[in-house]
């Protein structure tokens, strides 16, 4: 086939897909494919004081990629890697192809694409940067409820990528992986999702695969409460404006959960399934009455209820939850393979996260149906400005 012939046939084929009428002129096809919708064209600014993808309202789809630095990776190489990854991420967030990009069309519809970078404990130790580890940042202790597997645990580097479009996301994953693999090896990738754009109001709290309204107590983006919980202050100085991420892969046994009636499900959490209201309230955001008793003298929200164990009045133990659902299909025995990519962001893991996690380990009826099978922590540097790169304060 001549090259011209190829182009014509390709144009006709794409025209048929785009117009759905079996006829099409190459030029029209291209126009149709490139036309934007509000969802597809939407962008999130990559640059700023903080990295994108944290305060960003949920995108429908997300991937966490874990990489380990190659053994001989030096400080200079780590810097180059972050420079290149920053360049890729900034271009892709704009809807531009990476440099280079063999599939540039797949970058055309960013759909609020963000890529967020974080450094695991090994990043600091392998590069001789242990003195720069942020306050409170360390691997979580071993919990009795954990059944961790290496395929989902730990890594030197994480790239968290989100988009409202799974095709755009898949392309971004490939581009960023291509850059990262020159300096590191992939350890795992974990894919998750929430509802699609337009299905529910953007402000509506997500549901997890247990059907629970999940994330009611989150701080609102742009508020002082959000900044106080999430963004680190200046110790060490490179980390000011950064945050710490706890990523836990929590398997949820949908099949045993299914054996519960609605009342049992609600009492295990302490919230209503219908709208997420506390069992003592009517509306989702009603304050829970932890003292309320029923006629038998029992607490309406039981001692073992997840929300009683997780909640706190201590502002220093609050943090942002940004979990994604995962659903890896049905196993051959007909049971589910689903759960949560629990992603929590906070200024200091030790002071904000550990007390809450310990309470849930000690007593939480929800542990009956959930099993943490992956766990990792990352220090996410602050954002950067054009010309800079993510992690510059640490690696320059």
């Amino acid at each position: 086939m001549t090259r011209r012939g190829f182009l014509l046939s390709a144009g006709t084929t794409t025209g048929a897909f785009a117009l759905g009428a079996g006829v099409g002129v190459a030029a029209n096809a291209a126009v149709a494919l490139r036309a934007d919708t509000a969802v597809g064209a939407a962008t999130v600014n990559f640059y700023g004081a903080h990295q994108a993808g944290i305060e960003t309202p949920f995108q429908a789809h997300g991937v966490f990629l874990g990489f380990d630095l190659k053994r001989d990776t030096t400080h200079v190489m780590a810097r180059r890697m972050m420079e290149l990854l920053t360049d890729d991420a900034a271009r892709l967030a704009q809807g531009d192809p990476a440099l280079p990009d063999n599939d540039p069309y797949l970058a055309e519809k960013p759909a609020r694409l963000t890529a967020t970078f974080g450094f695991g404990p090994g990043f600091f130790t392998k590069l001789g940067l242990s003195s720069q580890i942020p306050a409170g940042f360390a691997d979580l202790p071993a919990y009795r409820i954990d059944k961790l597997v290496p395929e989902y645990s730990g890594s030197d580097l994480v790239i968290s990528i989100g988009s409202d479009d799974p095709l755009t996301l898949a392309h971004a994953v490939r581009q960023l992986t291509r850059t990262a693999r020159s300096f590191s090896s992939i350890r795992w990738s974990q894919k998750g999702f929430v509802r699609s754009q337009g299905v529910a109001p953007a402000t509506q709290t997500n549901r997890n695969l247990f059907g629970q309204v999940d994330g009611t107590i989150n701080p609102a983006p742009g508020t002082e409460a959000f900044a106080g919980q999430v963004w680190a202050e200046g110790s060490p100085s490179w980390f000011a404006g950064g945050t710490q991420l706890v990523l836990r892969r929590i398997a949820m046994n949908l099949d045993t959960w299914d054996k519960l009636d609605e009342g049992g499900k609600e009492i295990s959490v302490g919230r209503k399934l219908s709208n997420g209201a506390p069992l003592t309230g009517v509306h989702e955001f009603d304050a829970a009455d932890m003292e309320a008793k029923n006629s038998a003298g029992l607490s309406v929200i039981p001692d073992f209820a997840h929300m009683r164990r997780a909640r706190t009045d201590n502002p220093k133990e609050k943090f942002l939850r940004r979990p994604l659902n995962y659903d890896d299909g049905i196993l051959l025995d007909g049971t589910s393979n689903s759960g949560l990519l629990f992603a929590a962001y906070m200024a200091n893991i030790q002071t904000q996260y550990l007390p809450v996690q310990q309470r849930l380990v000690d007593l939480d009826l929800l542990n009956t149906w959930t099993t943490p099978i992956g766990s990792a922590v990352y220090a996410l540097p602050p954002g950067c400005l054009p010309g800079g790169f993510i992690g510059e304060g640490l690696l320059s």
Binding site: A296, G297, D303, T368
Partner: protein, 203 residues
């Protein structure tokens, strides 16, 4: 502490194995009987005994007792029989005085199913002096002198004195299982339970 929890986890797993066939058949546990029984009138009550159709998970059990005036009665740590289906909860002060009582229970069966309910009964013919509600000033004083109160931190504590019994103070509280010290005792009981059960199985 941590070791105890791990041991308990193993025990629960063991119990699941031991009684799993029964639990698989029934989706959840139910209260099969109690002493005192629902609606009964009894003269002497020093403990509550609850019998469930399926093993329960001790971590999640809560039993409360109150009289008809809404006054909570302090209960001790529960113990379990070898099958973890029979739960015995002592009344800290000993025998109950006359009156109408409401016991509330919430347990979780080994399959994770929460069950709750209440048992109403009457004590009559007891020679134990009745509870009286002290004045607030008495209450504050007595509470301060009677040492620690077993509480989960969220339960309102009311301090009572017995009529004609001067300084003999009952500390009355709602939740019984918050005292983690009790876990050790439960562990021992359950360990014995499992061993006995295994011994039976091999006979």
């Amino acid at each position: 502490m941590h070791k105890t929890l791990v041991t308990l986890g193993a025990l629960i797993a063991g119990l699941t194995l031991a009684f799993g066939s029964a639990s698989a058949a029934t989706a959840h546990s139910e209260l099969e009987g109690s002493v005192p029984a629902q609606g009964s009138t009894v003269s002497t009550v020093t403990e509550l005994v609850l019998t469930f159709g399926e093993a329960v998970v001790p971590d999640y059990s809560t039993v409360v007792l109150a009289n008809s005036a809404g006054i909570s009665v302090e209960l001790g740590a529960p113990t379990y029989d070898t099958t973890a289906t029979v739960m015995t909860i002592p009344i800290t002060s000993g025998a109950l005085p006359n009156g109408d009582y409401i016991a509330g229970f919430r347990i979780v069966s080994v399959d994770g199913h929460p069950i709750s309910g209440e048992i109403d009964y009457t004590v009559a013919g007891s020679d134990v002096p009745a509870f009286v509600v002290p004045t607030p000033s008495d209450s504050a004083t007595e509470a301060a002198t009677q040492g620690p109160v077993v509480t989960d931190g969220t339960t309102e504590t009311v301090t009572l004195t017995r009529a004609n019994d001067g300084p003999n103070v009952l500390v009355v509280v709602g939740t019984i299982f918050a005292a983690l010290v009790a876990l050790g005792l439960v562990t021992v009981v359950l360990l014995v339970a499992i061993r006995r059960n295994r011994a039976k199985a091999t006979e």
